[in-house]
Symmetry: C2
Amino acid sequence: MARVRIADVARAAGVSPATVSLVLNDAESRISSETKDRVRRVADEVGYSPNPIARSLRTRVTGTIGLVSDRIATTPFAGRMLAGAQEVARENSRLVILVDTDGHPEIESDAISTLVNHRVDGMVYASMYHRVIPAPAGLPAGTVFLDCRPENGGYPAVVPDDYAGGRAAAQELVDAGHQRIAYIDDGDDDRPIAAQLRLEGYRDVLVEAGITPDPALRVFAQTSAAGGQAAIAGLMSLPEEQRPTGVFAFNDRIAAGVVMWAHRHGLRIPEDLSVVGYDDQQLIAAELDPPLTTVSLPHAAMGRWAMEVALGLREASSDSPHLMDCPIVRRASVGPPALLGSARDSRTTD
Amino acid sequence: MARVRIADVARAAGVSPATVSLVLNDAESRISSETKDRVRRVADEVGYSPNPIARSLRTRVTGTIGLVSDRIATTPFAGRMLAGAQEVARENSRLVILVDTDGHPEIESDAISTLVNHRVDGMVYASMYHRVIPAPAGLPAGTVFLDCRPENGGYPAVVPDDYAGGRAAAQELVDAGHQRIAYIDDGDDDRPIAAQLRLEGYRDVLVEAGITPDPALRVFAQTSAAGGQAAIAGLMSLPEEQRPTGVFAFNDRIAAGVVMWAHRHGLRIPEDLSVVGYDDQQLIAAELDPPLTTVSLPHAAMGRWAMEVALGLREASSDSPHLMDCPIVRRASVGPPALLGSARDSRTTD
DNA sequence: GTGAAAGCGCTAACAA
DNA sequence: TTGTTAGCGCTTTCAC
C-alpha cells in the first residue's frame, strides 16, 4: 500500500506532477475545473495519498506536535490532559509525539532537542500537577505550558484556577451554615502553589462571611488517606467548642481519610461533619460513602486549551497564565452543621 | 539552531558530504581514522545534527512507532502501559506517536492509515483492559497487541496471566485456612475474558484443595464500590454455615465495596472476613483500611514487552499471546478464618 | 492554464 | 580511501 506516488497520478491523469500537487493542495484556483475533477478522480481511484515525509522535507511543516511531560504514569490525571490535547490534535489532523521524561532533567532536555530536531510544528510542556517551574533550556518560543507556569513568564500557560476553587469549596461550607471550617493543607515537602492558592481562597471566603479564620483549624496532612485520618483525629481532639463542623481537604485522598475516620468513630457524614475534597478523582470521590462533594480539576479542558494554542487556533498571552475554572461537584458530603455538640456525642457511642 | 547541514560540515572539514555521512553513521570502517576524527570534531564544533526528515525520506526509516489505544483517559492503568512502552522507545532512540481513538472505530481506522502513511517503523495496538478483539483492518503485519489479543491470531500479543492471577488469589485464601471462599465476578454486560480466566483459576485451586466450589458463593457485581456492597450483602444473608469467610473480588473497586460494607456492619477485616482484590489500584488498594491484599496487573511490564517486540528487540510468537505474570501483593486484608460463627456474631452488635 | 526544473537534506551506488 | 552523482517524493518558482 501507499506505493503510489504523485508521478503515477500525473501520468494516469495525463498531467504533470506539479498540476497534481496544485490541485490536491487546492493552492491555485487557476487550474481548470475540468482538470481538477479529473485529477481528483484519478487520485482517488489509484488510492493516492501524499508521502508526508517528502512533503515535510520540502515545506518544513511536519504536522506533528511534541508533548513532553513528566511522569504520565503515576498520576491518574495525566490521561485526561493527554486525551484532551490529543483529541484537539486529531481534530486538526495533527499527530502528537509523546515523550515522558519520568521527571529526569537529562531526559527532558534530550527530549526537547530531539523534538526540535524532528521539526515538530509546536510543543506542549505538561506537568502533572500545578506548579511553577523554571523554563527548561531549549524550549522553542511559543511552547505551551500545561498545568504549570514558567517562573519568569514568556510562554503561554494554562493552569487550574485554584484560588477560585478554594473559594468555591469554602463557600459551599459557609452556605450550608458552617462557622468552624477547617482546612487540611498539603503537608508534603514540596508544597505546591495549588495548596497556597486554595488556602487563600478559603481564607478570603471566611473573612467575607465574617468568620475569623482560626489558625488551629488549619492543619497539615501527607497526601494519603492515612494523612487525612491523622489530621482529622487531631482536629477532633480540640476542645469541643473549637472543633470544626466542616472540613475542606486539600485533595480527595486526604478527604477520603477524613471520611474513613468519621465512619470508624461513629460520626455521620454530613450530619455530624461535612467534608469537601479537591480533584474529583473518580475512583475516590464517587466511591466514597457518602459520595464526596469536591472541586474538580479541568484536566481535559486544559489539555484542549494547550493544544489549541499550540496549533495557533487560539490566541494566548505569554505574560500571565490562563486560569481554567474548577467547578464544584456537589455530591452528598455536605449538609448543615449539627446542633452544637449533642447530636455528635450521642453518635459516638453508637 | 539546527540550521547547519551536512554540506556545511563537509566544507568545514574539507571532505565531501558523503564522507561526513559515512563517518557519522559509522557505516564504513574504510574511512581513515584521521578523517573520522576530524569530521567528528568539526561536526561537534558546528553543532551539527542530521535532519531526520531528510534522512527518513532517503532511508524509509523514520525512527517512530505508532501507538494507538482506545481511551487513555478513563483508566488509570493506561498511563502505566504507555509509560512502559514509551520508556523502551526512548531508551532506543525512538519516538512514539500516540493516537487515542476514544473507542471510535472510524477514528481508529483513520489513525491506523495515518500512521501507516507516516511510515512509522512499527505499531502497538493497546486496549485498556484485557480482551479479545477482531484485528482492525489495515494494521501492518507485526503490530503488537497490548493488553488484548486478536481474535484469530496472526499478531504478537501480550496480556496478563489472569488464570494464574485467579489461582494466586484463591490460593492465598486457601493457604490462610479458608474453606468457604466466594468469588464476586464481573457483572457488566460485556464480561471480559479476564473475569472468565480468574474464575477458572479460582475454581481449579479450590478443587485441588479438596473444596467443592459452591455455586451460591459465586455472585456478580457491577464494577463499583456500590456493586461490591450489594454483592457482599447478598453473600452475608446466606444461612450462616454457608456464608463465606473469604472473598475474592474481580477487582479492587468491588473489593473496596466489600470492605466498606464490612466496616458498616461491624465485621472486622481480616478477623471476620478476608478479602482479596485484583488490579492493585494504588488509589484504592493501598488506601483501604486495612490495606488490601490484591493481585497486581503488570501494566508497565506489558508496555515494555510490547515495545520491545515492536522494535524487534525481542522475538515473539504470532500464534499465542505472551502471558505476563500477575504477582500477588500481600497487604493486610487476609487472615485465618474466624472460628465458626461465634467471633463474628459477637462483633455484629459491637 | 499547465509544465519543466530545481531543490528540501540526506544516503547509497558507483567511480576514481 | 574518498568524491561524484543520483535520487527519496514532494512543492514551488518560473517559463511557456
